[in-house]
Amino acid sequence: MEPLLEVQDLAIEFHLFEGRARVINGVDLVIGRGESVALVGETGCGKSITARAILGLLPPNARVTAGRIVFAGRALLGLREEELRQIRGRRIAMIFQDPSTALNPVFTVGEQLLDVLRYRDGTAPARRLREAARTRCLGMLRLVRIPDPEGTLLRYPAELSGGMRQRVLIALALIQEPELVIADEPGTALDVSIQDQILQELRELVRTRGVSMLYITHNLGVARMVSDRIYVMYAGEIVEAAATRDLFARQLHPYSQGLLAAIPRLTGTIGEGIEGRIPDYVAPPPACRFEPRCPFRMPVCREVRPRLVQVAPGRRVACHLYPGPTP
């Protein structure tokens, strides 16, 4: 598959009061055209930072210290702000997590959708074009299954339910027909049933339109539903990469095993969970970042950083339990 986005050995540091925190520590990630990829990990593991780095929207105290981000054959890091603006929204769009805050409260849905179309042209569209733009907005709202799209155009975000707002956010991301959509845990703030429905629809949309998607979530169940492949992230590193089906069949990295065991079952038992929490980024464990929490830790885990190695076709893991092909 032709890669649309390639992240290579990305490292990002945050300047904090406590010192430099290496929050992203060599992330590799590939998304093919038309592929849906999930990035899974617990809160604080750097998923959202990775997404923001792709869009060039890192907070001011963060610096990319190494690595490359290549989108459609073009290196994104080092592009000027104006060049990045041409890419944001048009070619890479983002769906935000919290529908109640990601819409501007003082503009109607119609105004916000039309505004996005206008960023594209730079100028206010002529009357004739405005009618066309409006038709396009309506079509978009229909596509994300908003009932009464005409009325919704005139509503303020506060006048919509959470589910409708999330749909509007999806419409906002898709209206410029981007090639890559980054979804940062959309629907997390919603009822499970509505979240489910929206995810199904999103998956469907992505499939039928040939859009690539990077889906960020801490929920493995969600990842299973929406993705073709999964990257498991821990403390700023990719620890396992596999096709979704393979990962659910068998998890190789102890962290992936723990994540899966932590899912509550319908049988009534609560998942086991993983002892401890994400390490301190300013003074991380010396070699393997998961070592302090790992049930299988060995002396080597404190000395040599495990590299992501191929252990089977399409399957890579970073763990000393799986020695790769010897170099």
Binding site: L57, R85, R88, Q97, Y119, R127
Partner: protein, 302 residues
């Protein structure tokens, strides 16, 4: 933005309902209603001054020496002054002047203050510190003293008095908007609009600015009264409107020397100032309750 079809009836009903709710909240305080009443009456009188004043010609350089120092009577409810002019007519024209000064001063302060506050709040850097420290310096100087200094350096007339007041007033808006922008720019919708390719300029002026209007509107209303107070102060000291312009401050200054025998000359313009300031304060407090905003109060003049 146009180009959107007519709203559904249900939607219009919801919007109407919201206005009704806001009005209900405003109305629940009698004092807010009193304030609104005062300002409406005063604004109408100011706008229609030539029609409502019993002797519109008395507003300017008019003399009738056969008619001087008349105490309040049915014909001259506020009496007449030292050259025989109707005090009521002059107070009404004075309202016109004070209101226009208030509006103009605040318009200037608003444009400068909001722009600087937005720039300092959104684009952080050395210039934002510079802007904010500059406002601190301006705020450390009592505004009437600063206005006095500016008015004294320039020629004493009404336009210069307005410039002087606006000069002391913009920092309040810079500070207010700066704080609001700092918190608004953390909102997810700001990041969302950046993620679809909006330019910083666009994010600042079209996404953030519309979200900071409520406290600004409340402050504008409250400030109308205070600006009128400072303007009448400057006029009283001879640094504002010059005779024979019917300004409240000038009228008090002229009437003062005839106190207490011909008390009506200074008392009625004084009462007008009192009522105007009171009206704007009550109205502003009412709006503050409706918008539910918390803003820093003006700390008084000198």
């Amino acid at each position: 933005m146009g180009g959107v079809a007519v709203a559904g009836g249900e939607l219009r009903a919801t919007r109407r309902e919201e206005w009704r709710r806001a009005w209900h909240r405003f109305r629940s305080s009698t004092l807010s209603l009193v304030g609104l009443g005062i300002i409406l009456v005063m604004a109408l009188a100011a706008a229609l001054a030539p029609l409502v004043a019993p002797h519109p010609e008395h507003a300017g350089a008019f003399v009738d020496f056969g008619n001087t120092f008349r105490p309040p009577t049915r014909a001259y409810p506020f009496g007449t002054d030292d050259v025989g002019r109707d005090v009521l007519s002059r107070v009404i024209f004075g309202a016109r002047l004070s209101m226009s000064v208030g509006v103009l001063v605040l318009a200037i302060a608003l444009v400068i203050g909001v722009t600087l506050g937005l720039i300092a709040g959104y684009w952080t850097g050395w210039w934002s510190s510079l802007i904010m420290r500059m406002t601190d310096v301006f705020l450390a100087i009592p505004s009437i003293v600063l206005a006095l200094a500016v008015a004294a350096v320039l020629k004493p007339n009404l336009v210069n008095a307005m410039i002087a007041i606006a000069f002391t007033w913009w920092p309040w808006y810079t500070r207010l908007v700066y704080g609001e922008v700092l918190s608004a720019k953390q909102e997810a919708y700001v990041e969302a609009s950046r993620s679809v390719g909006a330019s910083p300029w666009r994010v600042a002026f079209q996404e953030i600015l519309p979200n900071v209007w409520s406290p600004v509107i409340v402050k504008l209303t409250l400030d109308m009264g205070f600006v009128i107070l400072v303007e009448t102060g400057l006029s009283f000291l001879g640094l504002g409107a010059q005779p024979p312009t019917p300004a409240w401050g000038t009228m008090i200054a002229e009437g003062r020397i005839y106190m207490p025998g011909h008390w009506w000359m200074a008392t009625f313009p004084g009462l007008a100032i009192f009522v105007a300031v009171l009206g704007f304060n009550l109205l502003g407090d009412g709006l503050r309750d409706v918008f539910d905003v918390q803003i820093e109060q003006w700390r008084g003049g000198a």
